[in-house]
Amino acid sequence: MSSMKQWEPPKVPCKSEMEVDNITNLPEHVIDKILSHLSLRDAVRTSVLSSKWRYKWNTLPHLVFDNQSVLVSSQDQTLVKNKLVHIVDHVLLLHSGPIQKFKLSHRDLQGVSDIDKWILFLSRGALKEFVLEIWKGHRYKLPSSIYFCQNLIHLELFNCLLRPPATFAGFKNLKSIDLQHITMDQNAFEYLISSCPLLERLTLMNFDGFTNLNIHAPNLLFFDIGGVFANVNFQDTFQLAVVSIGLYSNMGFDRNLPFGSASNLIKFFGHLPRIQRLEVQSYFLKYLTAGKVPRRLPTPCIELSFLSLRINFSDLDESLAALCLLRSSPNLHELEMLARPEEQNAARVSANIVEEGYENCPFNQLRFVKIAGISGLRQELNFIKFLLANSPVLEKMTVKPSSTDGGWELLKELMKELLRFCRASVQAQIIYLDP
């Protein structure tokens, strides 16, 4: 621990005690911390403050090059590119000490070959976090040197092409991956996931090159996916607690799976014993209906406390799947059911799920319910009635219809019905929100 002189000998005589410079002699890691809260531009500007401050920014462990930190105001792509490349080159050259985080996310930069150089340079150091966002131009192909950054803990890529070399042996320390708008092939993806033993967070949005998500990651805790895929298979993800899945297109699933295999619902939840938060978005609920939808899951999701479903109420299978899920989640605390607006004519329109479908199924922990995008259909009302009747500790239910196209009559009916439904919970508030 260095001892700090309380006061610097003043350079100008007759300086009062109050005018002493207290900041310059703070320890280096503290100055780094202060400068790291500034944009790179401001941090580098401190080099003109005084002679002692000239090189203080050099040891910044986090380098962020984005539109705030690098001001290049021009529409000319070459100009922008040159200036940006210039600046990054210089900062890297002048920098001393380890670079732990590097983020390049300038809106006007396309994928240039200089990035390869920088990645090579960074890979020779102790890089822990790497964020690369290419906002313009084609998918940028990552150089092979990135795959050998063994200290990498967080990797975030946007608009990139990943083709790991044959000698790629995984990232032994990687805990978090965020890939958006990427292209990668099937084997490479599976290998990437399975070769990162410490992986805890996986975010995947808008990907091409692969359609089967075989996730083999024993330490995974957080999984957020949105894209077009054919199936998702969790293998040994026994710690997975937060899952958010969106299937962006209706793949038109075959109702009867060829081998009479277990339904997707069962398969999906089979390897998620510890799931706590689940968001089912876009058409994923439809995906889950493939195969025979059971009444309830073989093992209930006892830890599930938050469930959000994007559902087409007119689709019988989806309604059944939703019911199955609800029945298997005894400890649900908060529920959202959001109607998918565009489909009003599903394959098997349920006139009415028979009343047994809604038998008693107590939700002893359910406190908050949000229903949105409804238009007053019978099925929707049935669900609401079901929930109200089975939630003894319900505190608040908000109901928000979709924007009306003259369906005022239907909405009036809806409101009347809502008032009529009996509620198991005495303190339940039903809040009707305007569309």
């Binding site: 005018e19 944009s39 003109v48 100009l79 210039h86």
Partner: protein, 371 residues
């Protein structure tokens, strides 16, 4: 004795206290649960210190009694587990409202006690004070000495001065000083170093382009830099609308190839094109980044290079020369261009190092004679 008894008994109802000693020698008794919020104090306690008045925990010198009381206030609030994030945040915001002197001292004290959350809080506050302010304002707030030389300040790493002419002048100024320094040095250099001048015309023209090119045709150690950098202007000459330096070097190239033939026709041709370019480019700030490209490796992030101490007399001389230089750039560029081109041509034959102005005039006259 009494303390020892207290240690053994330790009734749950009674709070235990530990003893802290600051660098000035004063002792203080603090509730244990509050003090152990600081990792430093916690470690010391585990090694047995602090339980009695005779064996207090000695705090690091950076922790003054005033700072200690502030830190303990912070700890006292935050060690209570039941507080909401909102409460903690609002406490923090009120807590750091103090003058910069105390904020710096607090940062230092918290750091020596390894109290990371408080260091984060104070660093962020200090960062907010630095953010977005001009260097003068920052120096004012933190009482930093203004001890960088003018040149160092005139060449900010990220160019915040937008007026292209000011930037140009800054660069000329810096370059001029370097040239003068070189000249001083070279007065002592052996003559043989300059005997074989096999450099092309572009080399010699680079006293316009290059940041450190010597205006005389003498080979110096700085040759390497010059050569390397000139690759940029030459690359850019493919598009005709580049900055003057590029066009001069391109004309230089052409001149070089055809040096056996009359230079004149080429001079004129390039003159016309260059003149238009130059006049239009001078006004456009957009073009100036190209200057940066060719100058910048030296100037933008120049660390030690410009740290020379020039005596005032020299400084005045430099000032005058720069003004002269700048004025000529703005007004009589075309003529100057011609001079330069002919200078390049002449340099091949005449091997002397002279002052700039005199030699140019002489070369021009010589050139006219040749025509």
């Amino acid at each position: 004795m009494a303390e020892a008894d207290r240690e053994i008994i330790k009734p749950e109802m009674m709070k235990s206290y530990i003893w802290l000693q600051t660098s000035d020698g004063s002792l203080q008794q603090v509730e244990q649960e509050v003090a152990v919020f600081c990792p430093f104090i916690c470690h010391e306690m585990h090694s047995g210190m602090g339980s009695s008045k005779t064996y207090p925990i000695s705090l690091p010198s950076r922790v003054s009694p005033a700072m200690l009381s502030l830190i303990l206030d912070y700890c006292r609030f935050h060690q209570v587990p039941g507080r909401s994030n909102k409460e903690r945040k609002s406490f923090d915001e009120k807590f750091i409202r103090m003058d910069t002197k105390r904020l710096c001292e607090l940062t230092s004290a918290a750091d020596s006690l390894q109290l990371k959350p408080l260091v984060d809080l104070t660093s962020r506050a200090l960062a907010r004070m630095i953010e977005g302010k001009t260097p003068e304002e920052i120096r004012d707030i933190f009482h930093l000495p203004d001890d960088l030389t003018e040149e160092e300040k005139l060449e900010p790493i990220k160019n915040t001065i937008d007026d292209p002419r000011i930037r140009l002048l800054n660069r000329l100024y810096a370059r001029k000083r370097k040239e003068l320094k070189e000249r001083e040095r070279l007065k002592n250099v052996e003559a043989e170093e300059e005997c074989v001048d096999e450099r092309s015309v572009e080399d010699l023209l680079s006293f316009i382009n290059g940041g450190d090119a010597d205006s005389k045709g003498v080979k110096t150690s700085k040759n390497k830099k010059k050569n390397r950098r000139r690759k940029d202007p030459q690359k850019n000459t493919s598009s005709n609308d580049t900055w003057t330096s590029n066009s001069t070097s391109s004309s230089g190239n052409a001149a070089d190839k055809k040096e056996s033939n009359g230079l004149d026709s080429i001079c004129h041709e390039h003159d016309a094109a260059a003149r238009d370019d130059l006049l239009s480019n001078l006004g456009k700030s957009l073009k100036l980044p190209n200057i940066d490209d060719s100058f910048a490796p030296d100037d933008e992030f120049d660390a030690g290079d410009l740290d020379d101490d020039i005596d005032p007399a020299m400084k005045e001389k430099i000032d005058r020369e720069v003004e002269d230089f700048a004025r000529r750039l703005n007004s009589d560029w075309p003529d100057r261009m011609q001079e330069i081109l002919s200078l390049g041509q002449e340099r091949k034959r005449i091997l002397t190092a002279n002052t700039c102005n005199g030699s140019l005039r002489r070369y021009a006259r010589l050139d006219q004679q040749q025509k």
